[in-house]
């Protein structure tokens, strides 16, 4: 840990010596400074993203930027078709007037008094300042959903996330059931095999999986994203560990009652394993929603892009439309923020107890 030095320590203890009976330690000061800095550094960027996403295209180009989204006031002036921009103008006699700009020619701008449309002025541009008001540019959110394929990307992402999570839950819980309830020859070998696949991440087998997916005719379909990652070793492992804690007597009793194995699985074991299944569901949703590298490889046509791939394509364009990108980044972030807000404890206990992400 960083040591702010002995002097600081003495200084701090002198300043704070009279505060209560418990003495302050330099680590207390350090902790609260660190946490305050932490809030700024962790939340600041996201807050800035949110604020910026409500600025107009022109507002985003401003330097230095303003914190709140401000839009220049536009006025409808009699005799002019388009709305005109409003400025505060310092007149030659020293007074300040609010004028609307008709057009700008070089460093001179032609202006008109909105209250008295007959009165026109020629003003050097450095004598005017924009009149602005707090205005949220909702069109940043509306336009991409209407004009671009964004709604399609959103739909693709939802389809991938939901279908992949269902497939994962189904086959992983079945495998976990097979590995936890039964005693059979080869069980340990299978378990080792399952854990062993953890060692082979997609980064190592990109090319051959692409070949397999091509062979199955799935390139540029959402199945190419859904299926390859459906059987997760972490999922099987997590569910199996949980199912092992289910008392054997329950299963024996169900067998006595002539219940089929599938019935025991779906009616007895699964309901009991729900906490673990919920954790896996949350993880799977996050994995799939955020997945990037693999979709980037197998989805090459705009119609099948997921949100992440679509966002990346947008930001890679030559004429980067930041006002749309920022708004869409916020849209992409919202589901995860909701999951986090409601299920934070689930996620953190899940990670702390299994060490997976």
């Amino acid at each position: 840990m960083a040591d702010p030095g002995v002097e600081t320590k003495n200084l701090v203890s002198i300043i704070l010596a009279r505060r209560g009976r418990k003495k302050w330690h330099w680590t207390d000061i350090f902790s609260y400074t660190y946490l305050a800095l932490g809030i700024f550094l962790m939340f600041g960027p996201v807050l800035w993203l949110g604020m910026s996403s409500f600025k107009t295209r022109a507002g985003l180009l401003e330097f230095p930027p303003t914190f709140f989204p401000l839009g220049q006031i536009e006025l409808q002036v009699e005799g002019y078709e388009k709305p005109l921009l409003l400025f505060d103008v310092k007149m030659d006699d020293g007074s300040t007037r609010q004028l609307a700009q008709i057009r700008r020619i070089g460093i001179v701008s032609q202006m008109v008094d909105p209250k008295n449309p007959g009165e026109k002025f020629k003003i050097p541009i450095d004598q005017r300042t924009k009149v602005r008001e707090f205005r949220m540019a909702w069109e940043n959110y509306r336009d991409p959903l209407e004009r671009f394929n964004f709604l399609l990307f959103l739909k693709n992402s939802v389809v991938v996330t939901v279908v992949a999570t269902l497939v994962t839950l189904l086959i992983n819980s079945m495998a976990a059931y097979g590995l936890s309830i039964y005693e059979f020859r080869g069980r340990n070998a299978i378990m080792l095999f399952v854990i062993g696949t953890l060692m082979i991440p997609i980064t190592v087998i990109m090319v051959p999986v692409y070949l397999v997916v091509t062979n199955l005719g799935m390139v540029n379909s959402l199945w190419a994203v859904i299926l390859p990652g459906a059987a997760t070793p972490t999922g099987v492992f997590l569910l199996r560990q949980y199912m092992l804690t289910i008392p054997k007597e329950l299963i024996e009793a169900a067998r006595m009652d002539n219940a089929s194995e599938w019935t025991i699985f779906s009616k007895v074991v699964l309901p009991l394993a729900m906490p673990a299944i919920a954790v896996l569901a949350i993880f799977s949703v996050m994995w799939r929603w955020n997945e990037f590298l693999w979709p980037l490889i197998v989805l090459n046509r705009t119609e099948v892009y997921t949100l992440q791939v679509g966002l990346n394509a947008f930001q890679g364009e030559l004429d980067v439309q930041w006002h749309y990108i920022l708004a869409m980044t916020v849209v992409t972030l919202i589901p995860v923020a909701l999951v986090f807000a409601f299920l934070q404890k689930f996620i953190t206990t899940g990670i702390a107890s299994s060490g997976m992400k």
Partner: protein, 340 residues
């Protein structure tokens, strides 16, 4: 997972029922075919039936590709289908590993690969050291009796859930030429810095952003480790009037050490595979300054005009070997920790 009892029951039940409902519908549909199957194979055969779907998936998407990967790396040409490819023996590996001096990427025949490897090494070195350092500091602070601990834990944790694309875009927006950071620099009388034009700055921000995004995860693991330390040890130390510094060096750190090692190795495994955030943030640039090994494989196999699958496979096997060594290290370290 079994210690979820501190969960507010209402939240838990809602979550469980939301997650569980669609699943149960699927299960009801599968009832009939499975009872038919059971009549056929008997109860002894059922575990295999239950395992089958998962194993088929592993087979098709992990095991078969693993073998094909080797086959690819021993063939050349641009054909994707194996039967059309030409056997070239160890040609790809010799091409990849042909260097005059291994310390300098420029002397290698495939200098992009070595540049990627070299960049990855630099990235991992700085990213892992600072990641672990800051995670440790954060975990130590969150383990103290501070007000609003849950809130602060969330503050440091939430970026873990953000997608790499979102993380990269958030920071790219801050670091642009006319971004807020440069506005700040100008306001304190400095010049604007073009962060994505200078190789050093690009690497710095690649490391920084990736630490920002992943710190919460490691903090959480270390926090769990800290909370597992017996409180009576601290009480005893307090009785003896031991200084806080001494308590840290003599009690906290030694007892946390096994967890710390696990975190280091986990971070290494993730770090070597760095791609997503940095790819969106810098695109590997300027030039190849932040191009890492995974991006080399991706570029070689999928984005170049001539898709060189053989070379990409050979490179991914090199990556696989590195990961294998690290995973063995992880197993050893985890075993050491769990055996106390």
């Amino acid at each position: 997972m079994t210690k979820n009892t501190d969960q507010p029951a209402a939240v838990k039940n809602t979550a469980v029922s939301i997650a569980g409902w669609p699943v149960q519908q699927v299960f009801r549909l599968l009832e009939y075919p499975f009872s038919k199957i059971q009549r056929g194979v008997g109860v002894q055969g059922m575990p295999w039936i239950f395992l089958l779907p998962n194993l088929i998936f592993f087979g098709i998407f992990v095991i078969i590709p693993l073998f094909i990967n080797f086959a690819f790396s021993f063939t050349g040409g641009t054909e994707l289908f194996l039967s059309n490819r030409v056997y070239t023996g160890t040609e790809q590996y010799r091409f990849l590993l042909d260097c005059k001096t291994f310390g300098d990427p420029i002397t290698c025949r495939e200098d992009r690969f070595w540049k990627g490897l070299y960049n990855t090494f630099i990235f991992v070195f700085f990213q892992v050291s600072f990641l672990v350092l800051f995670s440790l500091i954060t975990a130590l602070i969150l383990n103290r009796e501070i007000r609003g601990r849950g809130f602060f834990r969330a503050v440091f944790f939430f970026p873990v859930l953000l997608s790499p694309v979102v993380v990269a875009l958030i920071w790219k927006w801050i670091l642009l030429r006319d971004g807020i950071l440069n506005a700040f620099l100008v306001s304190i009388g400095m010049d604007k810095i073009l962060f994505f034009v200078s190789p050093e700055w690009a690497m710095f921000w690649a490391v920084f952003v990736s630490i920002w995004a992943h710190m919460g995860f490691y903090t959480l693991i270390l926090l769990a480790g800290l909370q597992a330390i017996q409180p009576d040890l601290y009480e005893a130390a307090e009785m003896d009037g031991t200084s806080k510094e001494r308590v840290f060096w003599r009690i906290t750190l030694p007892l946390l050490w096994p967890n710390l090692l696990v975190v280091v190795v986990l971070a290494l495994i993730k770090g070597v595979q760095v791609f997503d955030e940095v790819f969106v943030l810098t695109g590997g640039g300027p030039g190849t300054a932040t191009q890492f090994i995974v991006q080399y494989i991706y570029n070689t196999g999928f984005t170049e005009q001539v898709q060189n699958f053989g070379l990409a496979s050979a490179a991914s096997i090199v990556l696989g070997v590195i990961l294998f060594v690290l995973t063995m290290l992880q197993l050893a370290v985890t075993r050491a920790r769990d055996n106390g």
